[in-house]
Amino acid sequence: MLVLQDVYKTYRMGDTDVRALRGVSLELPPAAFSVIMGPSGSGKSTLMHLAGCLDVPTSGCVEYGGHDLTVLSSRERAAFRAAEVGFVFQKYNLVANLSAMDNVALPLLLGGSTTKQAHGRAREALETVDLLDRIGHRPAKLSGGEQQRVAIARALIGDPAMILADEPTGNLDTATGDRILELLHGLTEEDKSVIVVTHNPEIAAEADLLVHLRDGRIESLQRAEVAR
């Protein structure tokens, strides 16, 4: 369970302060498909960064499994991300000079696994996303959908409890996007919490928990029964 309590986040952008989140309190249940929606600048991505421990709030509390994430050191946050979180980004964010295999293996390689172990697991993960035939390709040689599947395989390889996807279908055509969503949604059946940030109302239709943000505040919050 990920809990945000009265979270504020203010960025400094040039001379102005951008108040991305203004007092957000939220509980994201485990093994659920949560969707965060809202217009641009509503604070969706910021919320996801805080949930994934990529950033720290200006004030407020982010708890995971009863532990306060805001007090962690940079090193501890990195360890938390490595162990508990898998990110999937709109721009895929693969390392350009590494093969699909190495991209997927990257979290394990950084975590100290041997190359053999890491590659073995990467192979399994790529099999899950049906990309075994693209194993040696670099990102530039892969289509958008393939790159996103590589990114999902990378997010899965460390067996994290939480998958955070920021506009995962934003750069994909509808059919490919649907496939990616299906893939993400299926992960909840493996007891993973999947949190998707999106503009896409079709994704929202699948949500166990649907959060609408506007101007850094929660505008509405709907549980599955209501959403469906």
Binding site: H49, D55, L98, L109
Partner: protein, 487 residues
């Protein structure tokens, strides 16, 4: 885990080939320069010191004329008076067999210390000049007054007209005594006979010929030649020495002529004690006549002489020198004692200074390479900002990001170091072949020892890592969210 980082860094270097190689090239050039200069410099130093070691550190040289410091003792007064007398470059042998071999009127006039008939009085010789050329020391008296000396001898040198029948010219004639040859062969490069034999009879006009002189004059054992108008028989030809003064600003010898004036020229122009030594130890261009014989048949007033003495093992060189100075005063002679050690120290000091200056210049090249590397790494951090964000999002710690960049730059430094080491070694091997003769140390080998290799490799890796340290630190401190937002 660091092995994984190493693999990742290697992949990165490989994926940016052109820039990586250009960066490596910057380091390579600097390392090449440093390696080449240091190895050649050390090689020259060792070769020069070997020469002194061959002569022996227990030897003290008493050069004529008291002229202050050790380095200047001999040559100080030489540039004027002696230049006029001996240092005419055209005094070199005119090796022209087609025209029958004649020396020019110029050379006859300028180099006429003993030109023409030996009986003829040198018209400009006077007492003062004699004192400049010879200390006038009595070596037997010196040995009794300076108990620290075990043996002493005098080596005279004179320029004489030489006529082989086919070739004529002026040549340096050294006049060691029989005793000198026995006591101090090392001063004459070992005085090793390649053909024939050494002197056997002080009553006969025997000459031993240096290797190059023999070659150019086309002399063989048993040939007759005229030296200073006196007929001599060649009894022996010396082993070629390792060294040569060829090319040391000596146009005549470069053209294949014989540099009979090399000693005189050295004294006249630069006049450092080492050149006296080199003049003596370079036996290739000389003719040798026993002093016992020379004093009979030549007019030796124009001869330059150097007294050589050997110090008892264990005796203090400086105390011995003091005692020699006293003895010189007692004999009312002139001269300055110089120990081989002093000469060696002086030369080594000069060589070290030159080496330091050159190495400093090379080091600048290396620093420039380092700056290039830093620039590359800094740009790489800017370019790879998003990648840094990716690494952090998948759990990379700050330290790992920093290590990744440090390995990256360190590896480029190291590769530049390895290649520079190879190239520098090759360069120094070629360089020594080119430089050996002109430095007058003959053949010598560059010194590329474990210290240089290890030092260069460690230094280039550290240079690489240090150049990359600041960019790497910057990379590691990037906020992952900002880094991911970068284009």
């Amino acid at each position: 885990m660091s092995l994984n980082l190493l693999r990742l860094a290697l992949k990165n270097i490989g994926s940016r080939k052109t820039r990586s190689w250009l960066t490596i090239l910057g380091v390579l050039v600097g390392v090449t320069a440093v390696v080449a200069l240091l190895s050649i410099g050390t090689g020259v130093q060792e070769a020069v010191l070997q020469q002194f070691e061959d002569i022996g550190y227990d030897i003290i040289l008493i050069a004529p004329m008291n002229a202050g410091g050790p380095g200047r003792a001999v040559g100080g007064p030489g540039s004027g008076a002696m230049g006029g007398r001996f240092a005419a470059p055209s005094a070199a042998l005119v090796d022209d067999s087609s025209s029958g071999g004649l020396f020019s009127p110029d050379s006859l006039g300028a180099g006429s210390s003993e030109a023409g008939d030996a009986q003829e009085q040198p018209d400009r010789a006077d007492e003062a000049l004699g004192r400049m050329l010879s200390s006038g020391l009595d070596t037997d008296l010196l040995l009794t007054k300076v108990p620290q000396l075990v043996e002493a001898g005098t080596l005279g040198t004179q320029i004489h007209p030489v006529d082989t029948g086919a070739t004529t010219g002026f040549l340096r004639v050294s006049t060691p005594s029989m005793e000198f040859l026995e006591s101090f062969p090392s001063v004459l490069g070992g005085f090793e006979i390649a053909g024939g034999r050494t002197f056997t009879n002080v009553a006969e006009n025997q000459v031993v010929v240096g290797a190059r002189s023999a070659e150019l004059l086309q002399l063989a054992v048993g040939d007759s030649i005229s030296i200073g108008g006196i007929p001599f028989v060649v009894v022996g030809i010396l082993e070629a020495s390792d060294q040569s003064v060829e090319g040391a600003g000596d146009a005549a010898s470069e053209e294949g002529g014989l540099s009979g004036q090399s000693l005189a020229q050295n004294l006249g122009s630069s006049g450092s004690a080492d050149l006296v030594l080199r003049g003596m130890t370079n036996t290739d261009d000389s003719l040798f006549v026993l002093d016992e014989r020379a004093s009979e048949v030549f007019d030796t007033r124009g001869a330059m002489s150097v007294t050589i003495a050997r110090v008892e093992p264990g005796a203090s060189i400086s105390e011995t020198k003091d005692a020699i100075n006293v003895a010189i005063g007692l004999q009312e002679a002139t001269g300055t004692p110089i120990s081989i050690q002093e000469v060696a120290d002086e030369i080594q000091g000069t060589l070290s200074l030159i080496e330091t200056v050159l190495a400093s210049i090379a080091a600048v090249a290396l620093i420039v390479g380092g700056v290039g590397l830093m620039n590359t790494m800094y740009t790489a951090v800017l370019e790879r900002t998003r990648e840094i964000g990716i690494l952090k999002s998948v759990g990379a710690r700050d330290g790992q990001v920093m290590t990744l960049f440090l390995i990256d730059s360190g590896l480029m430094g190291l590769i530049g170091g390895v290649l520079g080491l190879l190239l520098g070694s090759l360069l120094s091997l070629f360089g020594t072949r080119l430089l050996g003769p002109s430095l007058g140390v003959g053949s010598f080998t560059p010194v590329i020892d474990a210290g240089l290799v290890g030092g260069v490799l460690a230094f280039s890796f550290v240079l690489g890592a240090l150049s990359g340290a600041w960019p790497a630190w910057r990379a590691s401190r990037l906020n992952p969210v900002d880094a991911l937002a970068a284009e």
